[in-house]
Symmetry: D2
Subunit: 320 residues, 4 copies
Amino acid sequence: MTGTYPSRSTSRCPSDLLSLQELVDGIAVDIAAVMGRGKVADYIPALADVDADQFGMAIHTVDGQFYGTGSSGVGFSIQSISKVLSLTLAIEHHGDDLWNRVSVEPSGDPFNSLVQLEHECGVPRNPLINAGAILVADALLDAHDDPIDALLSLIEQLTGRRPSIDEEVVSSEKATGFRNEAMANLMKSFGNLKHSVADVLDVYFRQCSIVLNCEELAQVFAYLANAGRQPGSEVVVVSPLRARRINALMLTCGTYDRAGEFAFKVGLPAKSGVGGGIAATVPGKLALCAWSPALSASGNSVAATEALRLFAERSLCSVF
Amino acid sequence: MTGTYPSRSTSRCPSDLLSLQELVDGIAVDIAAVMGRGKVADYIPALADVDADQFGMAIHTVDGQFYGTGSSGVGFSIQSISKVLSLTLAIEHHGDDLWNRVSVEPSGDPFNSLVQLEHECGVPRNPLINAGAILVADALLDAHDDPIDALLSLIEQLTGRRPSIDEEVVSSEKATGFRNEAMANLMKSFGNLKHSVADVLDVYFRQCSIVLNCEELAQVFAYLANAGRQPGSEVVVVSPLRARRINALMLTCGTYDRAGEFAFKVGLPAKSGVGGGIAATVPGKLALCAWSPALSASGNSVAATEALRLFAERSLCSVF
Amino acid sequence: MTGTYPSRSTSRCPSDLLSLQELVDGIAVDIAAVMGRGKVADYIPALADVDADQFGMAIHTVDGQFYGTGSSGVGFSIQSISKVLSLTLAIEHHGDDLWNRVSVEPSGDPFNSLVQLEHECGVPRNPLINAGAILVADALLDAHDDPIDALLSLIEQLTGRRPSIDEEVVSSEKATGFRNEAMANLMKSFGNLKHSVADVLDVYFRQCSIVLNCEELAQVFAYLANAGRQPGSEVVVVSPLRARRINALMLTCGTYDRAGEFAFKVGLPAKSGVGGGIAATVPGKLALCAWSPALSASGNSVAATEALRLFAERSLCSVF
Amino acid sequence: MTGTYPSRSTSRCPSDLLSLQELVDGIAVDIAAVMGRGKVADYIPALADVDADQFGMAIHTVDGQFYGTGSSGVGFSIQSISKVLSLTLAIEHHGDDLWNRVSVEPSGDPFNSLVQLEHECGVPRNPLINAGAILVADALLDAHDDPIDALLSLIEQLTGRRPSIDEEVVSSEKATGFRNEAMANLMKSFGNLKHSVADVLDVYFRQCSIVLNCEELAQVFAYLANAGRQPGSEVVVVSPLRARRINALMLTCGTYDRAGEFAFKVGLPAKSGVGGGIAATVPGKLALCAWSPALSASGNSVAATEALRLFAERSLCSVF
């Protein structure tokens, strides 16, 4: 029982057959087949006005190449995609203590369910569902005087441009976010929020209202494909172990209660938002983002999901 | 926005620093720290008699190298690890039709819960929890006159040895498997089982009672690390796409209601059994199996989980 | 079928204004308005064949008067109404020890749900839902060599006629009772059934298949309106306290997950069955039974519920 | 505090054997056996300071007799007992339309659970659990410019004295009522609250903070024992049918998730509050109230529950 370790090549992402630019351009053409399906999020009035008939996609590789297609330069409300970034900041401050207040299991329930939160004494299932992200927002208030400034600074560091916040979306979220109010109060009732519900939700609603485009999001998420370091500068955003763990959370919990199906059909760590964006990583290789506003019943963009599925199928990129 | 696709090397499994043999031998030493924790499954009398103080581990690479340590040659009841093999056979016969009868989402509940099964009209959350595997056993009865013979033949093809079935465990499962009887009857009440409960459970209890050792299990699971082909012979067990999907299911659903934590801490597709074994894959590289009988409350072997965590940490092998 | 209204009027049941015979005859006329609503139980094939267009009603007062209307002499499958009688026998044997194995709370869930049973470790919410009655059947097997004989003897003692069992219904229940099999096995898995699932369900399915008519059921239930004694003979069936408690259970748990609405709209202790019968009591005054096969979604007879509501409204009989 | 037992005896409440004064005095002596069990509500700081070692009880008959014992004249925070009074006012204004927004089924869950509320789209199970009473408070804001003034006026009409509100309890509820905030926001998210969460909770917290003593509460609840009319004045508070229905709701839903057990052991319509009071009715006969601050885990006063059980046992008063 001896032997040598296999040479380090793998066949997990062998798509040299066509260039990535050809690949994304082809997807932009073929995605037309699913455009028109799903519907734009209407529970936040300011989101309901977005034109559903848009699609964009961008890739940023760990060695600094980037590719875009369609409306890859059009900004949109990143919504729940922000949860990965706030988690990144919170982990850096709190370390593993954070996991005493939020679990790392898929929920098996819709993103805004209170059922598990009650059964499990105010401890959210994971940091990528609403309750978990609200908890993370509370944790960020310990770490930063102005958590939103910290988030914007992180994004600026990674993209070179400080993003804007859509104040109309913020107002809209505040005026209609009763479910999030309910979750925050439920966690507060269990003693799992330290700051006031109003302060915590202010952070949460504002982080969701950050506006970015596909190109920027692919660039932002590239640190998760590069062992925690910003490609190019090699500045450390998080440790390699934490980058792996965030990827793991994205895979098991990043696409609401369709995370299993997403892993099954696409096979990449990803985080979706009800603004229609989905950011994903191919660890060791690249980050990518697809966007189209119309959502399936589960809250994931129909066309962005299909675009990522086509990408994985055609590039053979998969963590599996 | 142009560029070339990155060269195909990755850094996802760069552990040339020490040989895999040294790696597993080191784990066998260090695992002593957690031996004694957990307890042997006692709900099946025949399992309760196993000596808890055993540990074994084996690796089988896609290019045919193998490594073993500790009691890697000692046979044990594979229990739920068999679910991956029965799923493999059922997918080959039924194709995607199988997914009309069983979902692909993590359950978020204990492995033997009936709650979701009732709420979701007799459709199990995934094929790797008990209810799902019972459904797969029903599906196998459509595909094979003798599903157990088919399973044993598959294993024989992959290992060169036809395994035995522990008849005492079969009897013990039948005499005490009321929870599984309940699940099968509940699915039957929803019309989701075609065959009689007795016939289906006979298959299920017998597949769980197959006896294999770590070396054999590592060898068996190697097709899932090799795009569906048996290493060496390159015989196709399943298509590459299905191999990826089975790996995805193992990652999101393979370790009961701790799948999220396992992905977070270990980061590899894996399937555990209450016999104390856990089989895992590093897609493109190798399959491995660790075994130790004492279980945590979630039903996963304490020492085998830790062994896989140490393996991932030290080899830097991870899908993330 | 005539008689006079009992002289022991109280403020709770002051319907001297019209005779009880006129009252039930009027209900039989007015019930036509709801005939045709609902549908006959179809999950048991032998029940699905019953003509839906039948209605009967009968009253038996504690001083021995009786009144009937419509098809009050037509026999039907008593189904869950039998649960009150098996409970009566089990309480007499086990006393308060019975309440260690079954609770006395309304379930808030459908009659055949397994969810609470799992959450509450195999202890059914109350003895009048399926799981609870299966538990009671198990308890009866401790008390009687032949629990069915004991039940039939009790009925014979109260009515003067030994009822028959519809063997076709028994076979039908056994062939399709997977949900009940599931519940029994789940309780068995928690150690809350002492006898084999097969033996317990044989008792349960047979008790449900007893055939009685409205007149007999009103006569049978009269002991619960008479402080536990058979009117006339004054033979003690249960103690006064236990009679009160059984009435309480009927009120809070006797009409599946519509017990609250039934108490709200009708205001009498009652037990329904999917054969279309509902037996009820006006404690201190009378017992009554209405029957019509078509059921609402909750499993209660539409016309029998309405008949009892009209009875309570017009007689002003109510426990409230 | 003397009087004679009402002459309108019925078979359901035949306790002429001893006078009601002797009865309550005897209970006050015997209740010592359970004093010291349970603990004072501590989730509202202002309630936690109450001396646990107090007991009072009072009876008010429909013909105007009253009886008291122990600390029957000591005021306490009526808490959830207020839900019966707000429901009475809301029914008068909204009639049966109210039942489109709140159901009439027992919940089977703790009084402050959000689980059913989410599963059932923001429609509370019944008006006597927290969510239901918050809904009723919202409904009262349609009916009255100042719902609290309306409640206080109703009580003043029934007792001759306008009660006070404990402002310290109001502040305490507001500062710690995160669970109620969560429920109100959840209902708001489903569109089942018309007014702002802040306005609704202000009504709810203030109604809970009304201070009354046992004598007053027995007097207040007497209309529910008198077919909806105030004894003496015979002023109609609610119609006879609604009085019966409110009694039905108290019986099936009035003592949190122990309503089944309370019906089983006591057998009277009743409403408890975490201030330690329980008001009950013997329809047609009398209303009564017992109070002692220490609560069981279910939120019902241990000694007040036992006092009512002894009352029912010794007076033979029961609706069953």
